[in-house]
């Protein structure tokens, strides 16, 4: 990676991982252009606020991009001396984004045209947890005023549709991220001893993954249902505690996640039925998630496993650059994504949830990809509840 010389007193240039090939850039840009053209857009525009899509299209830490649908060169506005092999000559700015973004759109001839704004709303395939989108209000309004005859429409899923299918390069990075997350799980299991301080445990797991080069992504530890995404200083693991975890690692911008519950004590006999059903649900899901099958088929197939004593629910969301869809969870039923088809190159965290009548809830799983042969589990962790005496 090149190391651009820092301009005198111009603010620091922040390194971010940028190891994808130029072929990967061209693949992404071509696919987004094709999607944009199909949607009748003259360009796709990633505004200030949509950092995830900006990084997806530029590999820069913070950028705004205008990507004309007709194949003309993209115009990239970037922060603080950022440049890389994908975007060797972005328009560099300080902290003032609105006018340079407006100028980029005007220079691309977008006044009076139909502009697809990425991150304007939440999507089905990206920004799935941000129903209101991620565009910054004041910046967006400035741009609209500068291009009064342009039509601004949502294009979140135009890019999201491209992000939904991973390339081999992306899957290779995701595999590496899974390895790191699994190392984090190993550290969690090794460190989760009775009486241990939660902050110390949190630190130990994060330290392991950072040493392996993961970018930061919050570790989530759930203590008897209370979720902590920062160190819970002063709390300790005691007998009878059920510790849930979402251990995430990032490599090549791909966010992997592994989920491994740990129980401190002897679980009641009734729990085993829930754990066994969760295993069947996990495996059944792998069988269903073949290219061409729909999310609806997965929902129905898993619902069919329900018993009078045990509820079972799909818990599935996309993996990728961040906030990837579809999101199927107790808070997002998945009905909006019911007709969505699985495709080779999709990546998910798959962790069906089983709940018993006594309130015991068991979720276990991790990162899977869809191949032409069906779903492939990327991780090695054995199924089950880890028990600590």
């Amino acid at each position: 990676m090149s190391s651009p010389r820092e301009p005198s007193r111009g603010g620091p240039t922040v390194h971010v991982w940028n190891g994808y090939s130029l072929a990967e850039r061209d693949r992404r840009w071509a696919a987004v252009r094709a999607q944009a053209a199909a949607a009748g857009l003259d360009c796709v525009w990633v505004p200030l606020g949509d950092g995830v899509d900006g990084r997806y299209l530029t590999q820069l830490r913070c950028s705004s991009i205008v990507l004309p649908s007709d194949g003309r060169d993209a115009i990239v506005v970037a922060d603080r001396g950022s440049r890389n092999s994908w975007v060797p000559e972005p328009r560099l700015i300080g902290r003032d984004w609105p006018e340079p973004m407006a100028q980029a759109l005007m220079d691309a001839g977008m006044e009076g045209r139909r502009i697809g704004v990425v991150g304007l709303h939440g999507g089905v395939l990206s920004h799935v947890r941000a129903a209101d989108g991620v565009a910054v209000h004041s910046a967006l309004e400035h741009v609209r005023q500068r291009l009064p005859r342009a039509e601004f429409v949502d294009a979140t899923d135009v890019v999201g549709r491209v992000r939904y299918v991973k390339s081999e390069e992306e899957i290779a990075c995701l595999r590496r991220a899974v390895e790191i997350a699994e190392a984090g799980v190993d550290e969690l299991i090794a460190g989760a001893t009775p009486g241990v301080d939660m902050a110390g445990l949190y630190a130990r797991v994060m330290g392991r993954m950072l040493r392996m080069g993961s970018e930061y992504y919050p570790l989530a530890l759930s203590l008897d249902g209370e979720r902590h995404t920062n160190p819970a200083a002063g709390l300790s693991l005691e007998a009878g505690t059920l510790l849930g975890s979402e251990v995430s690692a990032v490599w090549g911008t791909q966010v992997a996640q592994q989920d491994q519950p740990i129980f401190f004590g002897t679980p009641s006999a009734s729990w085993q039925a829930a754990i066994d059903l969760q295993r069947r649900a996990f495996e059944r899901g792998l069988e269903i998630m073949k290219p061409g099958a729909t999310v609806g088929e997965l929902l129905d197939g898993i619902a069919a496993l329900r018993t009078p004593e045990l509820r079972v629910a799909v818990l599935l969301h996309g993996r990728g650059a961040g906030d990837d869809g579809p999101l199927v969870s107790p808070r997002s039923s998945g009905e909006a994504a019911r007709s969505l088809r699985f495709e080779a190159g999709n990546a998910f965290v798959w962790k069906p949830a089983v709940t018993a009548k006594d309130g015991f809830a068991f979720t276990w799983g991790g990162t899977v990809i869809i191949t032409s042969r069906g779903a492939e589990k990327l991780f090695q962790q054995e199924h089950g509840l880890v028990r600590r005496a």
């Binding site: 190391s3 010389r5 820092e6 005198s8 007193r9 111009g10 620091p12 922040v14 390194h15 971010v16 991982w17 200030l48 606020g49 950092g51 995830v52 300080g94 902290r95 984004w97 991150g119 304007l120 799935v128 941000a130 129903a131 209101d132 989108g133 991620v134 565009a135 910054v136 209000h137 004041s138 910046a139 967006l140 309004e141 400035h142 301080d197 902050a199 110390g200 949190y202 630190a203 130990r204 994060m206 330290g207 950072l210 040493r211 392996m212 080069g213 993961s214 970018e215 919050p218 920062n230 819970a232 200083a233 002063g234 709390l235 961040g322 906030d323 999101l327 808070r331 997002s332 039923s333």
Partner: protein, 407 residues
């Protein structure tokens, strides 16, 4: 230093102090209420670490919730608070769920809150629309999420929406004893992180190992995750800035200079401490620059007297080096919930926007002036968190200025 028991949160008295101060500032600005709308998350709006953390800082300041929208009437009525699931805390017993049982827009809940409080024709002060003097200083375009805010504007067409960053900002600008205690704790944790860095920094050590060791130390002491910003390069050469572990192939080498911003968060407040570490002996030509910076650090503290405007300090610092045939520039910014001002940097060395603002007891800053050689080939910054008292600026953690040499 060891981990302590869980922090129990700010007191109800602290909540009431903050709300009363914001209401008083709002009354002076002739606002009927202060409105903190939904703001963009830091992972997406990440112009700097400070700014990413500061996007949702006003909501956190007023509620102790990570992500909240607030309508705080000026006339003393109870605020309406909105968060994603309606989960309460010790400060806000009955927040409203923005999204109900499913993930949806925050717009309707925010508009309903304003309408319910009678704001349909009111003068509404909005935070996060743009840059404030002492908050959101790096967010020139603000940090408000467009979609939800646009919905609110459409639902209240007869209301007047005006920027109110300084209404909340100048409440945040003066810290209480509780806040200063949290900042002190954060500075102690950051100092422990630096001590770990000095232990680990040796030639041949992977930079990612160094990075992870420091983060691990601060996390085990209970800091929220706030990335170390690390620079690592041969002495005198430029370095990229790393806010995640540096690439695995990078190894520390003899002669490397490590500079960094080591930040820790306690009680939501971000402390920052700096300590250059050289893997070798400090060259003779660096010593006058380091000595100048040390003198400047202490001399500057003496000039941070309550009631005195910032321009006295700014001009003093920027001229200080010339007396010794060297150069110096101011570098300091506010401490608090994130993106706190003023932001005084070499990129804006006259700081026209802030020259006439006076120091007040309870202001907190990271103070790290820069000394340069005459040709600017050598530059040195050292510093950390300070609080303004009647006697001037006082460091929150006692450390010795200078460069630590690891031989």
């Amino acid at each position: 230093m060891t981990a302590t028991a869980a922090w129990q949160g700010y007191s109800l008295a602290e909540r009431d102090r903050r709300w009363a101060k914001v209401r008083a500032n709002a009354a002076k600005a002739e606002l009927d209420c202060v409105f903190v709308p939904l703001c963009v998350d830091g992972r997406n709006l990440h112009l700097s670490l400070e700014q990413a953390y500061g996007n949702r800082s006003d909501g956190r300041y007023l509620t102790q919730m990570e992500n909240a929208s607030v309508v705080l009437p000026t006339d003393g009525r109870e605020p309406i608070v909105i968060n994603d699931r309606g989960r309460p805390n010790a400060w806000v017993a009955s927040p409203r769920a923005a999204e109900g049982d499913s993930r949806g827009s925050w717009g309707p809940a925010m508009a309903e809150a304003l309408l319910e409080l009678g704001m349909e024709r009111a003068r509404i002060g909005v935070t996060g629309l743009g840059r404030g003097k002492v908050t959101h200083g790096r967010a020139l375009a603000g940090s408000i999420s467009h979609e939800a805010y646009a919905y609110v504007l459409a639902r209240l067409p007869n209301a007047t929406f005006v920027p109110a960053d300084d209404v909340v900002g100048f409440a945040r600008y003066v810290k209480s004893d509780e806040e200063i205690a949290c900042l002190r704790r954060g500075a102690e944790i950051a100092t422990a992180g630096i001590e770990r860095m000095i232990e680990v920094a040796r030639p041949g050590v992977p930079e990612a190992e160094l990075y992870a060791s420091v983060m691990e130390r601060m996390l085990e002491l209970g800091s929220e995750y706030y990335p170390v910003a690390l620079y690592s390069s041969p002495l005198g050469e430029p370095s990229l800035r790393y806010e995640d572990p540096p690439p695995l192939e990078r190894m520390l080498q003899r002669g490397y200079l490590l500079t960094h911003e080591t930040a820790a968060v306690w009680g939501g407040i971000i402390a920052q401490e700096l300590q250059p570490i050289l893997l070798g002996r400090l060259p003779e030509q660096w010593k006058p620059v380091v000595e100048l910076q040390t003198e400047l650090y202490w001399a500057g503290l003496e000039r941070m007297l309550p009631g005195h405007p910032f321009h006295e300090l700014i001009d003093f610092v920027n001229a200080f080096g010339e007396q010794r045939g060297l150069k110096s520039l101011i570098l300091m910014h506010g401490r608090g919930y994130g993106d706190d001002g003023p932001l005084l940097t070499p990129q804006d060395k006259r700081a026209e926007h802030f020259r006439d603002v006076p120091f007040e007891v309870g202001n907190c800053f990271v103070w790290k002036p820069i000394a340069y050689s005459a040709d600017e080939r050598i530059q040195h910054s050292w510093g950390g968190c300070i609080v303004i008292t009647e006697r001037g600026g006082e460091p929150l953690v006692r450390r010795a200025p200078g460069v630590v040499s690891v031989l």
